[in-house]
Subunit: 110 residues, 2 copies
Amino acid sequence: MEHDQLSLTFAALADPTRRAILARLASGETSVTELARPFEMTLPGISKHLKVLEHAGLITRGREAQWRPCKLNAGPMKGIANWVEDYRRFYDASFDRLAEYLKEIQDQEN
Amino acid sequence: MEHDQLSLTFAALADPTRRAILARLASGETSVTELARPFEMTLPGISKHLKVLEHAGLITRGREAQWRPCKLNAGPMKGIANWVEDYRRFYDASFDRLAEYLKEIQDQEN
DNA sequence: GATGTATTATACCAATCAGTTAATTAACCA
DNA sequence: TGGTTAATTAACTGATTGGTATAATACATC
């Protein structure tokens, strides 16, 4: 896998377990064991996924007694959003009509 | 790598060479050799990247004499856009104000 | 048919990945 | 001190990745 931030983020998101973990964290930070509960996977397995997410900057980890609460950090997703936005005119059917509409408006103003 | 469409798409995009290929295809379909030109990589290497993109549904390939022109197919990117949109409130600082504004508008209309 | 050009297939390599089990660290509790 | 819980590290495995060199295929032209 490549090491630029965008590649790192895309790679981290290319796994349903990791995306599910992020979805869980969207409703608040929680412990590793708690995150592992829904999955049929050993704890070290989950721990590895968390390391990937952390390395991509998508989560941060604190420390509270013997727990290491994980917290969502969506910052890197902005890179994804920006990147994909550049292709919107190719995947969004209604984009052309919107562009037309905006052009109309602008023409009216001039 | 996993095999659901979203994972397939994320994985295909997690490589700068493949993203550069897509960027090139955004300005029109072209041949494999032409796509390979900017990269310090052998043709079979590029061919493999194209196979990944094709398998993810991000490009389609035609046939014209001895050329196999590649064409961007941004459809799967919509899945990415939709997915990341769910996290917008976490990465977009202005999102809250926008939501507020939209709510205001709606309240006025009722 | 022979030659040149565009592309893919095959076979191989080193590196990484996703998962496991077993051992270890760290903190709390009694 | 010893025991329990939380989490990571270490060591291993099989599968996949990203790249290469070389060979094969497909078509166009001479």
